[in-house]
Amino acid sequence: MVRLDDSTQKRLAIAGAVVTIVFSVLLGRLWTLQIIAGEKYTKMAESNRVRTISLSTSRGVIYDRNGEVLVDNRPSLVVAVTPSEVENEDVSFRLGKLLDMTSDEIKEKLEDKAVDPLKSRKVKYDIDENIAVYIKEHSADFSGVEIKVESVRNYSAPTTAAHVLGYLGEISGDELEHNKDSGYELGDLIGKSGIEKQYEEILRGIKGFQQLEVDASGKVVRILDENESVAGNNLQLTIDSSLQQATEKSLEEAIKVAQRDGHEDANAGAALVMDPNTGEILAMASYPTFDPSLFIGGFSSKQWADLNDKSSGFPLINRTMMCSYAPGSVFKPVTYLAGLMEGVVSYRSTFDCEGKWTGMGESWPRYCWNRAGHGRMNLSSGMSNSCNIVFYEIGYKLYKAGGEKLQKWAHEFNLGLRTGVDLPSETKGRVPDKAWKKKFNEEHPDYQAWVPGDTVNLAMGQGDLLTSQLQIANIYSAIANGGTVWKPHLGKKVLTAEGEEIHEFNREKVLDIPVPEDIIEKLQRDLRRVVVDGTAKRAFEGFSLEVAGKTGTSQVKGKDDFAWFACYAPLDNPRYVVVVLIEQGGHGGSVAAPAARRILAAAYDISSTGSLSVPDKSR
């Protein structure tokens, strides 16, 4: 037997060592993959194998108070494109020609960052059936393009109650982040404004899902788990759709008439009808308006920019509760009550109006809108004639009494706080006081001091006071019902998809204003006088309904006057509070009051709607 030499033996031993090292490395790697990272890979294996598909659900229908459909759903043919599956540029060119879109528009949709890059992007909704058939028949020319049927919102009347209903849009990254655990996915529609946003949870429904086991080619092997979709609940609103339409019409007419009468900057306004006994909003109109159906399928960035451009008049804004304004003379009832309750004036107090007031000294004169003077006035005639001298006097007396009494009374009506209406983005308004003014003018030390003129301005509903139209409606509602501020609301009932009632929105008391009944009754009487023989007399001439209200003409620096009218009717058993505001529409008595009359006429089906505009010079 030949023995191997020692060096060969040694080299074989080295080879054995190499083998051992190689196997140690392999074993170490195996340990890392299976034991240390095993869980991670198990999860990856699951996500390989299990596909969860969400099943669509149908969004709840929104009804008006009488059960009329305001918005429901309809199927829409949608062209969707999965960019990763598009084989060449020609596809978007062909698609553009077919859908009448520019290649830039298509490109914008395809490059939408908000959509999962591997998912399809919806390029156009509501395409013609012939186009859908064409694309399907020529599928080879349209790689990555598919035709889907999506459920979209169906509006009974395009612009009716647009601001109330709001619109839907694809969920944004931020919204997704905020609603992490609510089951939203990219591409889902979500309420972006109005009731659609406010009651998203009620309306959206619960998407079902299917857990599928798939093989490597994506073929479904079996269903692992399944959960059916639950349709969203239906919602009944307090809106009365015929009154809503009448309100919108009256508002638009009033704006047009204001323009015709020389207030050419009048281009916006708002009108509200509320039930003073419950806070139910029966009609809520804002002008300019928009068509929520335009939001189906989303906007191009240009369309969106147009809608938010100054020249458009910002139609998406709900001017009844998102904006705050100087209320002008419609605020005078608050000053009136403050004066009486604080004891600075009484019903026997008299005021001499010579058109000019020098209560704060000769160097600080103020004027009445009626430069000729009203002569001898008292609280009652001061209200009906909207005599400024009377309210300057009250304001000045309240100032001298100290303690920010007028602000206190503004707060008694819940001004400076949100009304709590069930709509998103409500404004708080502003009740100015010493502390506020100091802080507001932090940078301008000369303007920090609260001066008598500030309180006098406030008494007139001017100065730095800001209220939303809805807050004004609250004031008149409380006056009408004897002193209670109810929370304004639009939700009436929640019903299941089958129509079974599951929730009713009851009226909610916000506060009672601490005013004795007899004083409120006197205020009611004086507001009635405004309509009978005061500043709103002409507007309501020959109107069969007993209306009580107040005109207002608020001044905004650099702009035409804002026309207000706030009222309620019928006098004895109030059912409607109506507030109309025409931005830069001139005098309240001349355009706003006639619009309110037309709204009330529609509510009572009264044929005598009066003139569209009447002369009024009051402020």
Partner: protein, 368 residues
Amino acid sequence: MKKRDFFEWVRFIDFSLIAITALLVAYGNLTVYSATCSSQTDPFFYLRKQVIFTLLGILVAAGIVLLNYNWFRHYMIPFYIGNAVLLLLVLFVGFTTYGATRWISIGFFNLQPSELAKIVLILTLAALLADRKGNIDKLSKLFIIFAYVGLPLFLIIAQPDLGTALVLVAIMLGMLLVSGLKWQHALLIFGVVILAIFLIFQFNLLREYQMNRLVVFINPNVDPTGAGYNLLQSKIAIGSGGLFGTGLFSGTQTGLKFLPVRHADFVFSVVGEELGFLGSSFLLGLYFLLITRSLAIGASAGNLYGTLVAVGVSSMWLFQVLVNIGMTMGIMPITGIPLPFFSYGGSSMLINFAGVGLLLNIYARRFK
């Protein structure tokens, strides 16, 4: 047979190598079956063929054992030339799958001459090196070795079959090292390899898929749905196996076909998924025993030729196990090197059994 004769006979047989091989090949057949039994058309299609290959392999091994391995030494030149001709034939009459031309049809069987080249090279190099009594101290003598390796290497690269070409290089290196390669020459070979790699990249000699595999090896996350897909799926399958695995026939990544070429190149991943760390490390243990046992046979061989043949076979298996299993776990680039006794395929099965036959032969004749 007398009792004494029986023990005489038994002394010639390496039962441990036989047992290791039997376990490996049974384990392999079972795994191939588990990897392919979800086929709708014929769940036994691959198993049946693999079993036939195994049986043929046993015949090959038995045939080789009956001959004296030293006999091969005398016919080295005809074998070498015959194999070269076959490799050349592949380039002209071979048929192509997946962009590579590797097979020639010999009627009932598709022969892969590049597999055969491995054994032929082992026998050739062992003869050359043993003739020189392991004396390869001169560079000129080394070049003769390189020339012998170069011809089949070139023909195989031309197919292209980079994986098998690399196996040939590994066989050469293993045999040279055990033959007593000088460290200066080892360094030189290392330098040449580096230069070759440099030239390959410099002149863009790699095909696109080869380049992609390298990119993926360096950065596995670069293209998880494209070039990195196979590796990622393999790692998922192995990693998800955990300690015990999902059980044979129950691997979801295997059964639902997420795992690519699961009966051949990625067969180890099936073991990883279905039998977990226990089953996989058991398999690694079997390979460790196979290779160390082969080296031990080499150490006990009756002559240097036998030692070198055993070292060649061991090098082949070590390299294939390292590259194949390493590839499935992402520590080696993806190449189409089969896992010995496991990966589905006839030629490689026969060649591996030929290796076992040679080893048994060397063991049996160790006393001479």
